[in-house]
Symmetry: C2
Subunit: 231 residues, 2 copies
Amino acid sequence: MGERLQKTQKSQQRREDILASARELFERKGFANTSINDIAQACGIRRENVYYYYPSRGDILLDLVRPNNQQLVDGMARIIAANISPVAKLFLALQHHVKLFDRVALDTVTVGLRGIAHDDRLSVHKEVKPLYKGYEDRWVELIMEGADAGVLRRMENPKLVVFAILGMCNWLTHWYDPAGPITLDGIVDVFFDLIAGGLLDTSRLRQSLSKELAQLPEELRKPYEGGLSVA
Amino acid sequence: MGERLQKTQKSQQRREDILASARELFERKGFANTSINDIAQACGIRRENVYYYYPSRGDILLDLVRPNNQQLVDGMARIIAANISPVAKLFLALQHHVKLFDRVALDTVTVGLRGIAHDDRLSVHKEVKPLYKGYEDRWVELIMEGADAGVLRRMENPKLVVFAILGMCNWLTHWYDPAGPITLDGIVDVFFDLIAGGLLDTSRLRQSLSKELAQLPEELRKPYEGGLSVA
C-alpha cells in the first residue's frame, strides 16, 4: 500500500472517529453543551487536531445531519409527486417526518435561534435554513393541494398549520425515548388521527343526535310529511 | 432608615438585578448557553457575588419561572373545575397555555433531557418535574372528560394526544417572534381549529356527496320509496 493512500485512509478514519464521538455527545448532551474540547477528549486526540478537520463545531454538526436532511427532503419530494390522494400524502408525509426523527438533526433548528457562537450559527444557518424552508414549503403545498381537491379544509393560514404539525413531531425531542414502550409507528397513528380527524367526536354527536331524534315529540317527528315531500 | 433595613434593601435590589440580567441572557442565548460568568458581567458584579445569592444557574432559572409556572397550573385547575362544556375547556386550556408562552420557562423542560451540568439539572428537575407532570395529568383529565361526555373522540392513548398538543404549542419557542405579524390569539385560533376539527374537510365532502347524489341514476335516486318507507 502506498504511503499516500495509507495517509488518506488514516485521515478518513480520524474524521469518522470525530463524527462518531460528536454524534454520541450531541445526542446525549445536545449541541449547545458540547465543546470541541469534549469531542477531542472523547476520541482521544488533541483539540488542534479536531480543528484541522473541522473549522467549527457547526461543520461537524452539518456533516452529521446531511444524510438525514437529504433523506427528509428527497422523501417529501417523492410523496408530493406521487399519484395518490392528498389524505394518503398527508399520512405518508407525517410518517416520513416522524420516522426520520433525529435529535441531532433537530439541533440544527434549535441552533438557529439562540446563543450559539456566531461562526457556528453562520455555517449551520447558511446550509440548513434554505433546505428547511423548502421542506416547509412542500408541506404547505400538500395542505393546499388537499384543499384544492376538496379533501382537506381550507385553512386561513396553512403555514401555521404546518408549524403546528411539525412542532407536534419535533417536540418528540423532549419526551420520546427510543428505548421506551411507545413506538414511532404508534405516534404516527395517534398524530394522524388528531391532525386528520380532530378531537371533536362527530360519530358520538351523530349517536346523540339519533337518540334525540328518536325522542322527538310527535309533531316534530316527520316534518317532511308536511312541507317537504319526498315523492 | 436603620442600617439593617438598608442592607436588606440592597440585598433585595442585587437579587433583582441578577434576575433581570439572567432573564435577558436566558431569553436571548438560552439557559444552556449562559454561564454564571455571563450573568455576573451583565450586572457588573463579581462571579462570587452571584454565587452568594444563588448556589447554581438552575436556582436562578427556577426563581425566574416560578410565577409563570404557578399561573400555568392555577389557571388549568380553574378551567378543569369550571362548569362549562369540554369543548370550551379545550379551547380555554389551549389559549391559557399559548398565552403564557415563555421561552425561559420552556428552558426548564429542555434542561431536563440533555447536557446541563448535574447540579443545575437536579435542582430544576426536583421542582418542575412533579409540577409539569401534574399539569399534563390535568390535560389528560380534560381529554377523557370530553370523551366520557361523548363530545370528544375517545383516543386510545390520551397522553400522546396531550404531548401532541403541548408540543405543537411549545415548538413556538423555535419560530414565534413576539415582534412579528402573527399574534398569539391568531395561533390559538388555528391550533384550536386543527385540534378540534382536524384537517379532513367534511363540509366539502358533504358538498361532493350532494353533487354525487344529484347525479345518481334513476333507480338509485329514491331507494327509500322501495324498501324503506318514510310514512
